[in-house]
C-alpha cells in the first residue's frame, strides 16, 4: 500500500523525536559493553544472588498484585464514577510520589517507630531490612500500573453481555469468571507486564525500606548501584543483562493473549 505509506510519513516525522529519545540511551547501553564485560558481570559475586532475588521477589510481588489488585480493579470498573474517582486518585498516588519518599513512607508505616510498629512488634515481626520489605516495596510501586490497566479493561466489557450471561443462568461469579475475565484478559496481561517490569526495576523505595544486603535485599537494581561505586563497566553490563531478561519476559507476556485467543477459537465458537 504505497498510498498509505506516503500519507503516513509525516506522522512518522512527528513521532521520530520521541522514538529517538527512547532508543538512543538503550543503544548507548548496548554499545557500552563488550562480550568480556558481560562475562565479567555474570562472574561478579553480586550477580547471581541479585538475579535470583530479583526473579523471586518480582514474581511474588506480581502474584500479590494480581490476587489483591484484580478485585480492586473490578470494583473500580463497576463503582459509580463519583466514588471510584476518589479511590482511583489514591491508587494513582504511588506513581506520582518519588520512590525514595515512598520508601520513607513505608518505614513510617511498617517500621519500628511506624504506625503498624507496635502491632508488628507484638507479633515479633520485623519487616524493614528483610526480603518481605523488598516485596512490599515492589507491590506498592507496581500495583497502580496493573490496577489502572485492569480497571480500564473491565470497563470495556459490554454490560449487556453480562446481563445475557445472567439471563442464561450464570451466577454473578460465573458471569465474572466466564465473561468479564476472558474479555478483559488482554488488558490485564498488559497491565501485569507493566507492573512486573516496574517491580523488577524498583530501586528507591527498596533502598530506603529494605536496605541492601547481598542475597537478602540486594535486588538487581541495587546490585547495579553498588557495582557503580566500584566498577562502572560491571554496572553497565549488569544493567544490560537485566534489560535483556526483562525484554524476554515482556515479549513472552505480550504473546500470551494471542495464544489464549487462538486456543479459545480452536476450542469452539465464542
Amino acid at each position: 500500500m504505497s498510498a498509505g505509506l506516503t500519507r503516513r510519513w509525516p506522522t512518522l516525522l512527528v513521532a521520530l523525536p520521541m522514538l529517538f529519545l527512547l532508543a538512543l540511551p538503550v543503544l548507548a547501553l548496548l554499545l557500552s559493553s563488550s562480550p568480556t564485560d558481560l562475562a565479567a558481570a555474570v562472574d561478579h559475586p553480586l550477580f547471581l544472588p541479585a538475579l535470583s532475588l530479583s526473579a523471586r521477589t518480582s514474581l511474588i510481588s506480581l502474584a500479590i498484585v494480581l490476587l489483591a489488585g484484580t478485585p480492586l480493579a473490578w470494583w473500580l470498573a463497576a463503582a459509580p464514577p463519583g466514588r471510584s474517582r476518589t479511590v482511583e486518585l489514591l491508587v494513582d498516588l504511588p506513581m506520582v510520589i518519588p520512590p525514595a519518599v515512598l520508601g520513607i513512607a513505608l518505614l513510617q508505616a511498617f517500621g519500628r517507630g511506624g504506625l503498624m510498629g507496635p502491632v508488628l512488634m507484638g507479633l515479633d515481626l520485623q519487616i524493614p531490612f528483610t526480603t518481605s520489605a523488598v516485596i512490599l516495596a515492589q507491590v506498592v510501586v507496581s500495583a497502580p500500573f496493573y490496577i489502572q490497566s485492569a480497571a480500564a479493561a473491565f470497563r470495556r466489557v459490554d454490560p449487556d453481555l453480562l446481563l445475557v450471561a445472567r439471563t442464561l443462568g450464570e451466577s454473578r461469579t460465573g458471569a465474572f469468571l466466564r465473561v468479564s475475565l476472558p474479555m478483559a484478559l488482554p488488558g490485564m496481561v498488559g497491565g501485569a507486564a507493566l507492573a512486573w517490569a516496574r517491580s523488577l526495576g524498583e530501586f528507591g523505595a527498596t533502598l530506603l525500606f529494605a536496605g541492601s544486603l547481598s542475597g537478602t535485599t540486594q535486588t538487581m537494581p541495587l546490585a547495579i548501584y553498588t557495582a557503580l561505586e566500584s566498577d562502572v563497566r560491571v554496572a553497565l553490563a549488569l544493567a544490560l543483562v537485566l534489560g535483556g531478561a526483562a525484554v524476554l519476559v515482556l515479549v513472552a507476556l505480550r504473546a500470551v493473549p494471542g495464544l489464549w485467543a487462538r486456543q479459545r477459537s480452536r476450542g469452539g465458537p465464542t
Binding site: 518505614l107 533502598l207 529494605a210 536496605g211
Partner: protein
C-alpha cells in the same frame, strides 16, 4: 470506541518546533554568570556549605556552586566530562586515579576524618561503648565499594585483633544492610529503624538526632580528605583560591567545627 486515533497529520512545523525547544533548553544554561563548580564527597556536605558562605563573604562576586555525591560517583562524572572546577574526595584512591589520568592537579590533604558509632537517641540496644556493639540487632555499615565501607572493614579487622575474632564475627553477623550513602544510613538510625551504624565523625557531628558512641583510637582510622583542581575547569584561578581558602586558617577552623581533624 476510540476517540483519538493516530491519523496522518499534514502539519510539518511540529518536529521543527520540538527540536527548537530542545535546542533552546540546552542553551539556556550557558547564559548565567560564571560560577565555581565544586564537586565534593557527601560526607563534606555541612562543612562545605559553611565554607561556601564564608568564602563568598571574603570574595564578593564569586559564586560557588556545591555538588555533593559519593566520591566514586563524582569521579565518574569528572571522567565523563562534567564541568567541575574543584574535586574534594573522601578517599585517596579516587583522587589518585583522576591525578593519574591527568584530570586533577595540585591535590592535597586538607583534613582527616575518623569513624564513629551512632545509635538512635533512645538507644534501644543499650550500646554504651564500642565493646557493646554485638548487642545491636540491626547494624548498618557502608558497602566496601565506598570509602566509609572500606574504613569500616579496617576498623573491624583491627577490632578482631584487639577484641577477638568472635567479637568481629558477631558484629559482622549483625549487619542488615551495606549501603553506599552515609547520610541515608544516618537517617535510618535517626528514625530508629537500625540499632547502630558506623559512620564518619563529621556525619554524627552534623545532627543532634543520633547519639554518638566513640570508637577507641587504637581501632579507629584516619581518613584522608583530599582536594584538587580539575583540568579544563572554566575558572582555574578561582579554583586555586577556593582550595587555598579550605586549607587556610579560616577554612581549617570551620572544618574543625564540623568534626574534622585538622593540622593547625
Amino acid at each position: 470506541m476510540l476517540i483519538f486515533s493516530p491519523r496522518p497529520v499534514h502539519w510539518r512545523p511540529v518536529p521543527h518546533l520540538l527540536l527548537g525547544a530542545l535546542l533552546l533548553a540546552g542553551c539556556a544554561r550557558q547564559s548565567s554568570a560564571p560560577t565555581l563548580q565544586v564537586f565534593a564527597a557527601s560526607s563534606f556536605t555541612d562543612a562545605f556549605q559553611a565554607l561556601e558562605t564564608a568564602f563568598e563573604i571574603d570574595h564578593p562576586g564569586a559564586d560557588v556552586v556545591l555538588s555533593f555525591a559519593g566520591s566514586q560517583v563524582l569521579r565518574l562524572q569528572i571522567e565523563l566530562g562534567a564541568g567541575a572546577d574543584v574535586f574534594a574526595s573522601a578517599n585517596a584512591h579516587h583522587m589518585q586515579t583522576l591525578i593519574d589520568q591527568g584530570r586533577v592537579h595540585d591535590s592535597r590533604i586538607f583534613a582527616r576524618n575518623a569513624l564513629t558509632l551512632i545509635t538512635p537517641l533512645d538507644n534501644p540496644a543499650d550500646i554504651q561503648q564500642f565493646k557493646d556493639l554485638p548487642r545491636a540487632r540491626r547494624l548498618l555499615v557502608g558497602t566496601e565499594a565506598v570509602p566509609v565501607g572500606s574504613y569500616t572493614a579496617e576498623v573491624l579487622r583491627r577490632s578482631a585483633a584487639v577484641l577477638g575474632h568472635a567479637f568481629a564475627a558477631e558484629v559482622r553477623a549483625r549487619v542488615v544492610s551495606r549501603e553506599s550513602n552515609v547520610r541515608l544510613i544516618r537517617a535510618k538510625v535517626a528514625l530508629g529503624e537500625a540499632d547502630a551504624a558506623i559512620v564518619y565523625r563529621t556525619d554524627a557531628a552534623a545532627t543532634d538526632r543520633v547519639r554518638e558512641v566513640p570508637i577507641p583510637p587504637a581501632l579507629n582510622v584516619a581518613a584522608d580528605c583530599l582536594i584538587g583542581r580539575v583540568e579544563g575547569g572554566a575558572l582555574p584561578a578561582l579554583a586555586d583560591r577556593w582550595t587555598g581558602f579550605v586549607g587556610g586558617n579560616a577554612g581549617q577552623r570551620i572544618l574543625a567545627q564540623h568534626g574534622f581533624v585538622v593540622d593547625r
